[in-house]
Symmetry: C2
Subunit: 214 residues, 2 copies
Amino acid sequence: MPRRGLLIILSSPSGAGKSTLARRLMGWDPDIRFSVSATTRAPRPGEQEGREYYFRTRAGFEAMIASGEMLEHAEVFGNFYGSPKAPVEAAMREGRDTLFDIDWQGGQQVRNSSLGQDVVSIFVLPPSIAELEARLRTRAQDSDEVIAGRMRKSRDEISHWAEYDYVLVNDDLDATSARLEGIIAAERLRRERQPGLNEFVRGLNREFDMRGTA
Amino acid sequence: MPRRGLLIILSSPSGAGKSTLARRLMGWDPDIRFSVSATTRAPRPGEQEGREYYFRTRAGFEAMIASGEMLEHAEVFGNFYGSPKAPVEAAMREGRDTLFDIDWQGGQQVRNSSLGQDVVSIFVLPPSIAELEARLRTRAQDSDEVIAGRMRKSRDEISHWAEYDYVLVNDDLDATSARLEGIIAAERLRRERQPGLNEFVRGLNREFDMRGTA
């Protein structure tokens, strides 16, 4: 049965397992499209146009904002980041979901956009802050100062948990992954997400008519 | 984590597999409580008070309606049927879900009751009317007239599909059962259904404080 594509917003503080959960979700259903952001920051070695980011000049990015081509955008440390709208709309027309790995600011904008009714938003919490900090420290050999900055950003991100539809505490990656998949599977079964039901029920009524059921 | 109990409303035309799905759902999670209806109709052989129904006199039933003890009720062929409210509220306090096997009239009343915000409603459609009629005919050696009456009632029930949160087409019992379980598992993860999250996040913030994260 045809269905409307979802806009899946996955947010969490850095170190709570969001990237791994996103990757697993796309492994679970390879039809889910990952929303690649546009940015004005310079490409780093190994980054490819359209894979990690769409790289744009500042003027090009501002033109996209002005013409309403950005579903959401923000300026972080002097660089613009944003989610282009056109690929999301194209995916929705095909009944495909789009996954957004964005923070609370992006989440708010997408939720309040013209596509807001198709948003399913999920916030991932760490089991503890000790765990969060341990993951941040394992991941990279960063200075205490850099770690402290990430922790401040994490605290700010966590403060927005109550704006999300679903909240998962990631105390076990396999269990959390399964829960996330379950949420997406269930959301696809919501009545308004299955536009084919109208025609299906019309078919049942034609069958009643043929059988002479008043 | 403590959570709010759900009011699960399962409706469908007779013959679409609703009773089997209800039984399986309670097998999946034995903590789900089945809402036993009260009725003024006489007990049939083998029926036990509190198992199939709570049997009440007409005066007793009307007193329950008058004192607001009924979450929903309807009169069908001269008999009253209704769902007592107190056991549902008791289950909710324990964080347990209650399953209602009721029709669209009952569903509307529960959805519009004081407990409406905790309702998850699911409508089960048959894959076809031919299939529905076949199941009705297999089940009992009823006259064509009785079957025709049930078919009319089924058509009326199906006409209310669009009032439900979720719609399942029961073309495969195992798949439909799994989808139903998935819906309930996902609904339990909705933010507002996990009141323990407030305290959990307060705990994370205390941890931030102890680590000196501003």
